[in-house]
């Protein structure tokens, strides 16, 4: 630690802290552009000048480049430093178009702020300005190069931080251009961060273009609902419409950035087909009517005949309410995930994750990372970014997976059948590789050697491919890692972990289905869960649910279950309510409401502005948070804070949930799931292959298909085939084939991958035609198009 004085105030900071950061700790903001906490200092903009009074490095210095030293005296208001900052602003503004009135950055523009802070308010330069032509960069990012101040943050983010390869800096002197080699969509799944890091309006969020001024925007701290990492986000909305999402900051989780799925996947909240009025048998009705009808029916059937289903995208508070509702009604059938394999993987992780579970921040600092059944870019994108940070500071990365896992850096990759993963992990633990092929043995030996050499190795697993058994094996292998090593498993939903904690050893959804089939259960209440979309075996589900007498669905998306519901309750989307998700490392993270529910003005106004209909009511404001509905039902209206207190009091694993502090880790453990032994490798007939639906960046998860901003980037449905399978079917890369499973038929394009395994067909869930939820393999056959079906 060193102690220094800045503007007559003294502060003690860790050695290695820059003067700029030390000043910021004192609340003294030294103006700056090119410096960024995540990107580091490069000394390019020259704005952060301060005056150092003490001998060592005396004079005007760039505060981002000077390390705080013991006894250093810094003056940020010294006239020559102030004069330089003023000049830097003047220089940067020489070519600026002064188009703030039509610029989307207005109001949250660092250049505006710094221009004011710099005190250079008069334009003295009267020379010509240089102008650029802009590039079309795809559906997410708008470019307006004339506003550029050359801080190089964009390229440092896109290329250096995220490893994107299709963006760079061209030209030189005062004509540098930041963009692509040729116009076209930015390929990196992290492209949206350009909008956040650009300090002015060069790169802005195209989906938000011309929608709001920053100061008119309603914003709140939130947590991304699109995977289990739980990145901090700040959604913003106006006129009852969610209009954008920007990255929040979370040191332990995402740092400063988020992925494009999290940023541009917000359209489900505003979806025009979203049901906003309660319905009984398809007829719109009053909310109290619907609630009364639900109460009546449950009373009539008796609680034992009712099954309750929450989900991994439902807030912890709601799931807890579902649990107590079930208890009150006398039901023992309550479950928080309708995909049993995912449920059990999550429960297994919750039960076995010891105190050496690691965070994304730990991963960024790790020196060896082994990915087991994990495809970060498609399943949990910011994990890929975290691993890249480790990789760029020298960490090695190895991948064992069934998929052609692509990463934004180089990594060793072994392709194996998914069902072999557990065996492999156990073999890594025992060190006995006799049953493997030579190239596999070599790979495993290399992995063990690297683990031994590393100080902070981390095992990263994916719940979908590992399933309960693999997760358990991974936790056992972790015990062999050096002290500072640990493990990390990502799950399917934003609250999978919380859901699994609540489930404990209770029966999973299979048992509920069994009970429905035998008639023991006659009613099902689905709260923000949709087995028709997410349960893997559709045939069995149809059979079971056709026997149901009564189906209640409460949701904010209009999924297949909603259409089948006897009673439908519209719930508030996460952006419209408060709640807590527990991310895959057991971190309790709160989200706050951004907007009140209501139909967006652009829908009610038929596109006209201002709207022509007026009333005292807000159109479409019926949705309530699911927790509130249930509270009404069980007759105990509570606030979210009461609810949190109650949950924390009832179960000390959740202690701290009611504290205002964000991101506390919950106190470990759940119980191991009881029923996990199901046959999961399907049989194989003569021309049958195994089909594995796999996650896709813009296709997976229940919400993404309701996000129109993603339509333009969704890839066409395709299957990934091995060379030998393609040869025996007689198809070439890019050809269309017909894919047949018990679920139906689908026309898809073939992609041949040299690394794909014979007998295994991968189908990315591109969302265009969500085939199956993934996490389970099924048999399939593939025919060349035009080949006749027999």
């Amino acid at each position: 630690m060193v102690t220094l004085t800045i503007d007559n105030q003294s502060i003690t900071v860790p050695k290695g802290t820059t003067v700029l950061d030390a000043a910021e700790k004192l609340g003294i903001v030294v103006p700056h552009f090119c410096y960024h906490e995540a990107l580091g200092a490069v000394g390019a903009c020259r704005l952060c000048a301060v005056y150092i009074e003490t001998e060592q490095s005396k004079g005007v210095q760039m505060s981002c480049l000077v390390e705080a030293a013991e006894g250093m005296v810094v003056n940020t208001l010294e006239p020559t430093a102030v004069e330089l900052r003023q000049h830097v602003i003047e220089w940067l503004m020489t070519n600026h178009p002064h188009d703030c009135p039509v610029c989307d950055e207005g109001g949250e523009c660092q250049l505006q702020d710094m221009t004011i802070a710099g005190g250079q308010s008069i334009r003295r330069y009267r020379g010509k300005k240089r102008t650029y032509s802009n590039q079309e960069l795809g559906p997410f990012i708008e470019q307006e190069m004339n506003r550029c101040i050359q801080c190089y943050r964009c390229v440092r983010t896109y290329r250096d931080y995220f490893g994107g390869t299709d963006f760079g800096v061209m030209g030189s002197r005062n004509r540098v251009f930041f963009g692509r080699f040729e116009p076209g969509r930015l390929e990196s799944p992290f492209s949206g961060n350009l909008a956040d890091v650009c300090p002015t309006g060069v790169f802005t969020d195209k989906t938000y273009r011309f929608k709001s001024r920053y100061w008119d925007l309603q914003e709140a701290e939130s947590i991304c609902p699109h995977c289990s990492l739980g990145c901090a986000t700040i959604p913003g909305g106006r006129y009852r419409e969610l209009q954008r999402v920007r990255s929040g900051t979370s040191k332990e989780v995402n740092g400063h950035f988020i992925c494009d799925r999290g940023r541009f996947g917000y359209g489900y909240v505003n979806h025009p087909d979203r049901l906003r009025v309660p319905r009984i048998n398809g007829e719109e009705c009053d909310r109290h009517e619907a609630l009364a009808a639900i109460n009546d029916k449950i009373e009539k059937l008796g609680g034992e005949a009712v099954g309750f289903l929450g989900s991994s995208r439902t807030a912890l508070e709601t799931n807890a309410m579902i649990k107590s509702w079930a208890e009150q009604s006398g039901s023992k059938s309550v479950c928080f995930e309708c995909h049993p394999q995912r449920d059990n993987a999550a429960r297994s992780w919750v039960a076995l994750r010891g105190d050496r579970g690691r965070s994304l921040a730990d991963i960024r600092r790790s020196d060896f990372i082994l990915l087991l059944g994990s495809d970060p870019l498609n399943e949990a994108p910011m994990l890929a970014a975290a691993i890249r940070q480790a990789e760029s500071s020298g960490s090695q990365v190895a991948v064992i997976d069934a998929r052609p896992v692509k990463l934004p850096f180089k990594a060793a990759h072994l392709v194996v059948r998914p069902e072999k993963l557990s065996t492999i992990i156990r073999a890594l633990k025992s060190g006995a590789f006799d049953n493997f092929e030579r190239h596999e043995q070599l790979f495993f030996e290399g992995v063990l050697k690297s683990i031994k050499k590393a100080e902070r190795p981390i095992l990263v697993g994916g719940g979908d491919l590992l399933q309960a058994e693999g997760v358990a094996a991974l936790c056992e292998l972790m015990a062999q890692l050096p002290e500072a090593g640990g493990d990390f498993v990502h799950l399917s939903g934003p609250n999978s972990y919380g859901a699994a904690m609540l489930s404990g050893a209770a029966p999973d959804f299979e048992t509920i289905l069994d009970d429905i089939i035998t008639g023991k259960i006659r009613a099902l209440v689905c709260v923000e869960s949709d087995p028709f979309a997410d349960y893997p075996d559709r045939k069995r589900l149809q059979e079971a649910l056709s026997k149901l007498e009564f189906l209640v669905v409460a949701d904010y998306i209009n999924g297949p279950a909603a259409a089948k519901a006897d009673i439908f309750l519209p719930t508030a989307a996460p952006a419209e309510s408060a709640g807590t998700y527990i991310n895959c490392e057991g971190r309790m993270q709160r989200f706050k409401p951004v907007l009140k529910p209501g139909e967006p003005l652009r829908i009610t106004g038929d596109g006209g502005h201002p709207p022509r209909r007026f009333s005292h009511e807000t159109p479409g404001d019926q949705p309530r948070s699911a927790a509130e509905f249930i509270a009404n039902l069980v007759g105990q209206p509570v606030t979210i804070n009461d609810l949190r207190q109650q949950i924390a009091a009832d179960d000390d694993r959740f202690s701290g949930l009611d504290q205002p502090e964000q991101g506390m880790l919950c106190r470990a453990n759940g119980e191991l799931p009881t029923t996990v032994n199901r046959e999961d490798v399907p049989g194989k007939g003569d021309d049958l292959l195994h089909l594995l639906p796999v996650a896709d960046l813009f296709g997976s998860g229940p919400l993404l298909s309701y996000c129109s901003a993603l339509d333009a980037v969704r890839s066409a449905p395709c299957v990934v085939l091995s060379e030998s399978d393609a040869a025996s079917i007689g198809v070439a890369n890019g050809e269309n084939v017909s894919l047949q499973t018990a679920e139906g038929k689908l026309a898809v394009e073939v992609r041949i991958d040299a690394k794909a395994l014979p007998g295994l067909v991968l189908i990315p869930q591109t969302g265009a035609d969500a085939f199956l939820p993934g996490g389970v393999m099924i048999p399939c056959s593939i025919r060349k198009n035009g080949a006749r079906d027999e």
Binding site: C45, L84, W91, T94, G127, Q150, G171, N174, V176
Partner: protein, 423 residues
Amino acid sequence: MKHPQLLFKNRIPGETVFFDGYRKSGGYEGLEKTIKSMSPAEVTELVKASGLCGRGGAGFPTGTKWSFFPSDQPGPKYLVCNCDEMEPGTYKDGVLLRTDPHQLIEGMIITAYALQTPEAYVFIRYAYEDCAQNLERAVAEAKEAGYLGKDILGSGFSCEIHVHRSAGRYICGEETALLSGLEGRRPNPRLKPPFPAVRGLFDRPTTVNNVETLANIQHIVTGGADWFKSLALTEEGAGTKLFGLSGHLEKTECFELPLGVTLDEIVNEHGGGVRGGKKFKACLPGGASTPYLAANHLDVPLDFTAITRAGSRLGTAGVTVFDEETCMVAVTLNLIRFFARESCGWCTPCRDGLPYVAWLLEQFEQGEATEEHLENLRGQFRNIAGRSFCALAEGAMGPVEGLFNCFEEELVDHIKKGRCPFK
């Protein structure tokens, strides 16, 4: 006055000396002596003792620079010769390589031995294609003779020299930008520290030296440190220096003169006086980035230290002379336009500040400047000089500094007359 010739001792204008001629005049004896009788550390010590200062512009003591080099660190290490030479008024390295290219090769091999770098590069500018070809031939000849390549003269020391042809841009001469350029990346300068000696080419220890600096090495090895020091006319100087003359002189040629020779001798003796019998007004004494010296400075001895007392720098010793009819504002504008155009675009003072200064000077030249512009120009100078990321913009302020020091009344005159008084 005749002065001793080292670097130009084989010089025959219009001709290039290659291997045979070079050998005949004692070439490669320095290398043989080094390899057979000196340890690497001894070479560095000798160069340190000789007082040789870098000839690339900054004038940093060469031996001291080498002594920071981790020559015993295992793994790849590099020696890089800087032949970018793109500063206006500077052409001495080109003349040297057209005259006697083996001098550089021999100097580089001795240096590589001293630093224990098995790989060496010559970074050569686009316009010097003839020099590049001379060097390629010299490299081939040296290899053929066993002075270069594997196991040089049976010493166990090996060294390869690669010739890299660039494609324009003055910034490539800045040593860290040059390294980025050699790596095939954008030639932006890099943050220092780490210095190239710690993390240079491909992140490995690297030393960058100028052509003339390296060409001096074998002369030091054969002649000794004391002799080398004694070549200079001033106490502080050491060795000779190539002075490239240009501008309004009768003779615009490159001369090898002792360090410490006076400006007067250069202008009036070697340069044959100002062209057309006009009067000497000013000069850039060391390339485009050095503050002007005026007529009252003619007695200043040109070495690295004495010249700083006169308010300028020796730089590259490219002496560009201006006669009495030259508008110094126009000269400065021409220079600033050069620097603005050659900015790499990395830092604000240079990228946007230099075009701003150019615009201000245009206002003077067009007769539209006011007192405010003069005040503004002063402010620009104060805030660019010493504030940029690398020394390019710093250098650009050299002439502006000279303008304020020696010719401020000319600026005022432009304002008063509302036009350029020289047009």
